[in-house]
Amino acid sequence: MVSDGGVALAVGSAWAMGAGATALLWPRHVALPLSAHVALSGLLGPLFIGALLLASGAGSRPPAFTRVAVTTAAAACVLAGTLARRASPGSMTSRPAAIAAALVLGASICFTTWVTTRTHLGYDGTVVWYQKARIIADAGGAMPSAYLADATRAWSAPDYPLHVPLALAWVRLWQDREDERAVKVVPAGWLAAMLCLTFAAITERRGGGSRARALALAGVVTLATAPRLLVGEGSVTSGYADGPYAGVLACAVWLAWRSTWGADHRWHALLAVLLGALVFTKQEGVAATAVVLLVCAVRGGVRHIGFGVPALALAAGWSLWTIQHDAAVVMAYAWPGVRAVLLRVPVILGAYAAEVLTVQVWGVLWPALACAAAACPARGSGPAWTMVAGVIASGMAAFTCSAWPDLASHLAVTVPRQLIQVAPVAVILALSGNHARSDD
């Protein structure tokens, strides 16, 4: 058995931190539904607790001090969030409907958590992300520069961002005895948050009501039972970064839409944190952030995209810091020449088409989403779909410069994970159709 009490405290403090931070960041005069609060707690909690862990580790304190200090900070954040939202409007939902929805949502979360306990961290989940987590926990929360400069560990991508390793390290720090099984609570939490987010976003975009809740629950069950999301390398239940990335991306697109593409400045603080989470989770988060900002700039004007500056500064700062500490940069991309790029385009398009039509792992999810989105397009959802298309296009463009000896292998490994990253936001957008909110 694992040290259950310590792991439960680690996860509980992370989610509590997220709950407090969400209460502080969510616009004061906008109702915060419980499902959205839970979703953002799960998505932002590990991020904030990781940032605190990193700050605490920089002071070279003993692990016991770090645990107490970070947990106290989480408690303080909950208190501040509770005080801040005392006078805020509540979320009105009729009780029987709320209970029925909670039951379905809870059953979906129980099922995905059970699957998570039965799967492994996976290849990158173990030797890239979990390795960093062990090293950070061993150093009491700091990322040792000796690791970045260790040329024999260049294969573990030392320059990758630290959101996932820090979240895993926080759990590792609470274990008396190392146990890989215990850290699976972290991806299980991210998946639970993603399901709550799907429910919250679809219900809100459709303006509430029984049909909205029914379709939101259908979206939840769709994601909770999609084989590609549940099992295999890069799946949301593994230790890969694609799960939290998918959740944060879906949340960023939803709230960018809700903020009328950045024009409503009350959402800027939350959007800034979400974009920061994107770039601190995966390197391609920079491309996704650029896409979100570009669409908001076109729709709302350049003066409304200041919320993207912290994320871009974070990405630049992290890159400079790793370069300064001699981290090996193992780029999987290089310019192959114009002719090679053109020759690769049909191969890449074919790989994406083949993946979305792979019935054994996706069922009919992608064709059905396309059909639903075309039948009932959500009013004002065009820019959100443009963001999704932009994220996919940036991934496709990167493949034209693949430095792998065999492009087909690179595509086979990476294309499924890129589609996992956009699956939740695609489900949310496809099922948000027809009943747009009056403020759109």
Partner: protein, 166 residues
């Protein structure tokens, strides 16, 4: 109450909206039905509950095979010097790279180099600094993982000395 008086155009619009609603419902039902069918197959492939504290590492070591790898490497880490070392794979790099990576991960903070002996001895990851030990990975051997003191960095010499030799 008089019957509702639909203008033909209004009727067409309403009928279209209803059809589109039904189409979305149909799409959702098709997705869930398809996934329900697939899920049964997927769940059958899930591994059983593992007693090992390191099931993910064990999967990456399965070419040896090695179970409870965390216990094995915890014991090794206590005995090995803190200087760097080399993992020697008596097989191809493709088959044993993941096992090497797990070894390197668990032996932090030591720098860990990697030599693959087949098809020809080659340094896959070059050593950094002094070398004080070697770990041999030998699939199929009675002891698939052995560690000993060694200062050699020559790939040919490392591969020629199989476990039990030198």
């Amino acid at each position: 109450m008089p019957p509702p008086c639909y203008h033909p155009r209004t009727f067409v619009i309403h009928a279209t909206l209803r059809a589109r609603h039904h189409l979305v419902t149909l799409c959702v039902v098709a997705v869930l039905a398809g996934q329900w069918h697939l899920l049964g197959q997927v769940l059958r492939t899930l591994p059983s509950v593992d007693e090992s504290r390191s099931p993910s590492s064990d999967v990456l070591m399965q070419s040896l095979p090695l179970r409870h790898s965390s216990d094995v490497f915890d014991a090794l880490a206590r005995d090995l010097p803190h200087a760097g070392g080399i993992v020697v794979a008596h097989g191809t790099a493709a088959a044993l790279t993941s096992a090497y990576m797990v070894a390197a991960m668990r032996l932090w903070p030591r720098p860990v180099a990697f030599v693959a002996c087949r098809p020809a001895p080659a340094l896959a990851v070059r050593p950094v600094g002094p070398v004080a030990w070697r770990i041999d990975l030998a699939p199929g051997a009675s002891s698939p993982l052995t560690a000993r003191a060694s200062t050699t960095r020559d790939a040919g010499v490392l591969c020629a000395n199989t476990p039990g030799g030198e």
